[in-house]
Symmetry: C2
Subunit: 623 residues, 2 copies
């Protein structure tokens, strides 16, 4: 049977790039994610909660068929979204005096100029811009725009850029993505006026390394920003520790966000965390190419240097998302007074979205025109300061890593701190409560030969679901049983399947996409390479004094082509899986190796949500 | 008889603003001056001598019917000029990424980027800009352009402004007219690299006063310029001394030029002089209006302040031109190797032009469209360090003034230093040697009753001539005879006349224009108010030990509507005189008061020169 657009998802695909435009619009389209009605979504950015309405505005770079700029949506529940403008209408477009060439990422002061939402964004005058190439002076400046109509339009302030270029004498690799924030801690440290705004500008210095530059608000209208130096810099292409837990710092930072977190969420007295993108390449470095973009986080302390300027010193760092296509995270404080938070009784939170590129940053021949859209944002996540308690204080703890020891206990255990990440509570709640079908699997131990059929008890009729499960590995896996792999096979049929599993030997969560897409055989740009990330399961001390392996708690969101793997509230890997067949709906347990694995609390919530109830037609193809 | 354009210059004029476009194109058109074929000329700027050709390029802001930017001409003799481009073609126009709104004044590095002529000019992004109004951040930046075709076109360097805005935290009144120069003295003072380039940027600070900001070249390609502070600033609307000799500093500086002069001309080891425009208004200050623009000069010393930055301290200051319509002087070193200098055997010189506005900076209803052009540059002048010797050291010397005592002699005399100005030697020579008629009047003493007929012995047939004369006043004029006035009546007929005279009582050179134009009675915007400037004639000591009044040495250039009065190589007053009648050609002596005056060396050189032999048609009217 053919789809409404004449495509047969029960037969082997043609080369999809030969199809007419929009013919595969629905094939991998997510339902529950943030993306525009059609065309290209870029970096998330420019979010804010409007204090007058309590609505949270999620923004993103957006390019329609003719116009580049940014668009956005509002949400009162972090589940459903409403476009701030009709199709293909941006709230800001490039082409002004300050930004003749492009609008890049910015961030928002909710009550800025005249107490209206105010953007500080990167106004672009010259392209190309790339850390591998000499930097064109003045190509990136930071300019203001304000909205007087509830965020539907941002009017550029009729003056030159607030930050008219990189700091004098710094040969930058990049200078963009201003991220505004307030910080009583910074105010105190620097002797600033109360509630001063700061902005980070991301980039780096040729021959030196990546950095984030910090500026302080200088006047009530945000016209001028005072340069306070590099808040944080790293040596070019260096690593945190040996690089295992936080990749490479690369040559250029992008989208550095600043936040203060405690165990509940956002807290101005909490620890400072940054999320950041790091760009680098394998040798030999080719001009205009970043082979790798890594989406990282870092936490640390800020102190004054001998010139009285603030300097950030990391204490731990990790991946915000291990997916190679997941990048450019942008988050924002959502206060407890926001509408969503009032309904869910959430405290102040820092909620972040990453961008999931469809064509690997424009470098792959993905059939975008045939799809009629490309890219999406990942599910909203709450970031917080996570604590891992009762951890046995052994070699597995003592490492320059994505955690740090925050407390030594008398019983020989330690408390670890790290960055916590969880699906926004409202979205998680909605995925569960609005499911059209729930499949609950009985708890079972696999690997002891008792169970040979790894199928689930029921099957799905769609590719939109949340799968949750807890996997427990025996301590034996630390020894001879370390060849164990366990997880789930999803999006499976006789033609295709994807396996998501934890590989105990190298502490990796892997998404095996090698057989994930029948379309990959016919169509360029359908990536079926594997995705992987590192997650350490610590040894925990039970109340009875025995040690056990920290259970692996998985949440897998599958939404059309989007697959997000969350683990233990501190690991995320987001990617695409481009199954072709309608039948590729099956889910099964996966286990290999000599150790048993206990699976418990295994449930599937099918359906997710329609995040865009206000869109009259879910498919709005490109002309 | 009617002119070629149907105008009768023997009858009283109509209201000229009712005439068709270009109908009075020739009426006041100069022959020997720099101006474009038609349309509007603005500030002179961007001059340079091309080291490859030896040609001197004189530039100026230029607005044709549709396009704004700058145009120019070359000269190999400072007498005749050749347009660098055909009619209405600029060598740079506004409308680029850095200068979407306008191109303002700039200056040239003769061997700049890739050893080609390189402009640093003010790129304008927002208007209006005025010292009376809040400054729009980023409205004026300083950008680069280079020429690869001998100056016919300057290509903007594809990068952001070299100086992307005013210094941080300085609420400027203006920030424009970058003036580049080299200075071994400055190199030594600041420990700069040899032959570093510096640039002054003119402006001021709201609530503080006018200033010139200084920057130093930072890289070989002039991409970055290092801010070294305000080289010179004055309190808002303050004066040099009591203001008699150098007007008011006003609120905003414009077109500050820097030069080093000795008695011969330009000398890097000489004294530092600046020429500058000062803007101010009478109370109450109206937005967007400068009532007064003064064209000044200042000399002084530069020292380091306690932060190691250079600060200029004036020692004398004066008017570069006393004419109220004469402004925006721009000059340049012309090396002895330039073509013109090689012919005339001139040493290194600093040659400057001022702009002579036709409609008082756009505020008067002059019939511009009927004229088909507006504005001109004044005759090229050589600036030098002038010395006045054998000056009796009396009260007339001891003043905060436009001179300073540079030496005390044993005989009770002093030597004074001031800024010297003379008509460029080649032009002066050409005016004299290429005259179509020379009238020499016998020396005579007027005022003793012997001579009643003040007419000249011969008459002129045009309004293009140079008049030179020496007038000597008796010491008695210091006493009871101080009511004396003496000079010449020019451009005279039964209907019109203009008198240029020295009024001894208040040391003023006055151009009485009250009866200068029959057109003024019919046409708005024909200014017939008087022009005046101060010139002190010192008491000099003769070899026989007696004192006498310094002779007044006058040179008057009349070129169509342009009238320039030069006196004693240290006074210039340039203005317009808009006679109507063909017959208004007569010249006569002028004398009033009880002192005699001795006139000697009185000569008229009629004709001047055709400065534009390459222009196929001297009249190129606006369409």
């Amino acid at each position: 049977m053919l789809s409404a657009r004449g495509i047969d998802y029960n037969a082997a695909p043609l080369n999809l790039s030969t199809l007419t435009n929009n013919s595969i619009f629905e094939t991998w389209r997510p339902r529950a994610h943030v993306l525009p009605p059609s065309y290209h979504i870029g970096d998330p950015c420019m979010h804010y909660t409007d204090p007058r309405t309590g609505l949270f505005h999620v923004g993103f770079l957006y390019t329609s068929n003719t116009t580049g700029g940014a668009a956005g949506a509002t949400t009162d529940d972090l589940v459903t979204y409403r476009d701030t403008n009709p199709d293909d209408v941006h709230f800001i477009v490039s082409g002004g005096i300050n930004d003749p060439v492009a609008v890049f990422d910015g961030s928002a002061i909710p009550s800025g100029i005249n107490n209206t939402p105010t953007l500080l964004y990167t106004s672009v005058s010259y392209l190309p811009i790339q850390w591998t190439a000499p930097y064109t002076k003045g190509s990136e400046t930071q300019s203001l725009a304000v909205s007087y109509d509830g965020g539907a339009n941002f009017t550029k302030v009729a003056q030159g850029p607030s930050i008219p270029g990189a700091p004098f004498g710094v040969n930058v690799t990049g200078f963009r993505d201003p991220y505004v924030f307030q910080s009583p801690q910074m105010d105190l440290l620097l002797g600033s006026a109360q509630d001063a705004w700061y902005t980070l500008v991301s980039g780096g210095e040729h021959g030196v390394g990546p950095a984030t530059f910090i500026y302080r608000q200088y006047d009530a209208d945000f016209r001028d920003w005072e340069y306070l130096g590099k808040l944080w810099s790293e040596a070019a292409n260096s690593t945190w520790g040996d690089g295992t837990w936080a990749g490479r710092w690369g040559f250029n930072f992008e989208v550095v966000n600043a936040m203060y977190l405690n165990e509940s969420g956002f807290d101005v007295e909490g620890d400072m965390f940054l999320t950041l993108g790091a760009e680098w390449s394998y040798e030999p470095i080719q001009p205009q190419v970043s082979d790798v973009r890594e989406m990282l986080w870092v936490a640390g302390e800020t102190r004054l240097n001998d010139r009285g300027l603030p300097v950030f010193q990391p204490s731990m760092a990790g991946y915000l998302d291990w997916g190679r296509s997941s990048y450019a995270a942008a988050g924002k404080l959502i206060p407890s007074t926001a509408k969503a938070s009032q309904s869910s009784a959430a405290p102040d939170r820092f909620v972040s979205y990453t961008w999931l590129t469809n064509d690997f940053y424009g470098t792959q021949d993905f059939p975008i025109r045939q799809q009629g859209w490309d890219g999406a944002l990942t599910t909203a996540r709450e970031l917080f300061r996570a604590v891992i308690s009762n951890v046995v204080y052994n070699d597995r703890v003592q490492e320059i890593a994505s955690w740090r020891v925050s407390r030594l206990n008398n019983d020989g255990t330690v408390e670890l701190a790290t960055l916590g990440q969880r699906i926004a509570r409202e979205a998680l709640h909605a995925f569960k409560t609005q499911a059209v079908k729930v499949i609950s699997e009985p708890n079972s131990t696999i690997g002891n030969g008792q169970r040979t059929d790894l199928s689930f008890s029921d099957s799905l009729s769609s590719k939109h679901f949340l799968l949750t499960a807890t996997l427990e590995f025996p301590l034996a896996a630390r020894g001879g049983g370390s060849d164990v792999r366990a997880g789930f096979t999803i999006l499976s049929s006789e033609h295709e399947s994807t396996t998501i599993y934890y590989q105990f030997s190298n502490e990796s969560l892997i998404i095996d996409r090698s057989n994930s897409s029948a379309a990959a055989a016919t169509t360029p740009g359908i990536d079926t390479s594997n995705e992987a990330g590192k997650l350490r399961l610590f040894d925990l001390l039970a109340q009875d004094g025995t040690a056990y392996v920290e259970p692996l708690q998985l949440s897998i969101v599958v939404d059309g082509g989007v697959v997000e793997v969350y683990a233990n509230e501190r690991f995320v890997l987001s990617t695409w899986v481009w199954t072709w067949y309608d039948a590729s709906n099956n889910v099964a347990f996966y286990h290999q190796g000599s150790s048993t694995v206990q699976f418990s609390d295994v449930r599937i919530f099918e359906g997710l949500v329609d995040a865009w109830p206000g869109r009259s037609d879910s498919s709005r193809p490109m002309p």
